[in-house]
């Protein structure tokens, strides 16, 4: 049995099905019984914040043509692009009472420490929720809290194809051509590999981040794996929520008149799993 002074850590990922990845993330938040850290990756997807209206954020036609999916997460914040070159970290802290700002600061400073330990220079936490290297964003975080726990997750660009990001996120397309916005609105980004000039393996990052967080929280690392019961709950949530248009395309109907029919069709296609992805879930054998 694990003790309360330890930090449970595992890699739990299903890059083939982004909808399931996000379903598991919510179960990970609500069900973790002790401080737990998850690392995971997604294949090509735009993950939007809980309060975002998809047509205001994403070029759906472009995304569909590039084979990119769309999933809404349960935390606030902005749209991010994930591919296999992006590493996600997620931390659930049951029994901790931290504000959103404090949560960002704890995890942000640990991630900075982790990157420094890997040789990244000029890396710092930039409130509210960014980690930057010499003015360029390398990781963004999101968080939420409830009466008995806090949750923080972040996406870190390690070797992602950044050019895709500008193609599918709406703000950039409209603002990039306008000089007034290029500095102030379009945040410039970089990747870990780019700043280090070498390839960093995900495992190296997992180790560095867990060690930094374990020091910060005063908890001992205990490598673990998700429980079958957690996976079953994730499957349930996948079916009821994350694989549905009702959840992913929330706040679309209200602005439907602004969306062309082609764009609307594209949105409906990218915001739910493909047949192949549904099959992938079946073979997990969780039922």
């Amino acid at each position: 049995m694990s003790n309360s002074r330890s930090l449970r850590v595992f890699v739990a990922e299903w890059p083939e099905n982004q909808f399931f990845n996000l379903a598991f993330e919510e179960v990970f938040y609500t069900e973790s019984k002790q401080p737990t850290l998850r690392f995971w990756r997604n294949d090509k997807v735009v993950v939007i914040g809980r309060f975002q209206s998809p047509p205001l954020e994403i070029n759906a036609v472009e995304a569909r043509d590039l084979g990119i999916k769309l999933v809404r997460r349960f935390t606030g914040g902005g749209a991010v692009y994930h591919d296999l070159g992006n590493v996600n970290y997620a931390l659930t802290l049951p029994g901790y009472n931290l504000s959103i700002e404090e949560s960002f600061s704890v995890v942000g400073s640990a991630v900075v420490e982790a990157l420094s330990s890997l040789g990244v220079n000029k890396v710092y936490y930039r409130p509210l929720n960014d980690i930057e290297v010499d003015g360029l964003k390398v990781s963004g975080m999101a968080a939420c809290r409830s009466h008995d726990r806090v949750f923080i997750h972040g996406a870190m660009l390690v070797s992602s194809d950044i050019s895709i990001l500008w193609k599918v996120l709406k703000i950039s397309r409209e603002k990039l051509s306008d000089k007034k916005f290029t500095q102030s609105r379009v945040k410039r980004v970089t990747t870990v590999n780019e700043v280090l000039g070498k390839t960093v393996r995900p495992e190296e990052l997992y180790k560095a981040i867990s060690e930094a967080l374990s020091r910060k929280l005063g908890l001992e690392i205990e490598w673990s794996e998700p429980q079958k019961s957690e996976l079953k709950k994730a499957l349930d949530l996948y079916k009821k929520k994350y694989a549905t248009l009702e959840w992913n395309l929330k706040y679309v109907d209200e602005v439907r008149d602004l969306v062309s029919d082609e764009e609307y069709e594209a949105l409906k296609e990218i915001a739910r799993p493909s047949e192949k992805q549904e099959k992938f879930i079946e073979v997990l054998g969780l039922e």
Partner: protein
Amino acid sequence: MSKALIVCGEKKHAGGKIVKVCVKIFEDLVKGVVISGDFFVDPAEDFEELLQELAKIEVKREEVTALVSELLKKKKLDFSGITMEDVVEVLSRVLQQNQESFLKDFSS
């Protein structure tokens, strides 16, 4: 028959996050308000409830800002990255628009 008009606007809170507001106007009635953006709100569930209410709102154009402002205050929401005043400001500026617009920028 006249068509509903949707007007949208956005504002970036200095050094913070962006709030986007869209309003559906039909003649002199507002039939739905959408608040979107990359900010954080605690408690999220209470804000979501408010968004559901706002999506179905039906109120005179000149009364909507006061109403939304009151609803926001009643919920006691804790915004991070933007303020409640930002939301109300974008809403009131959006309502002054008379042409369909996609995210007109109101950042100062």
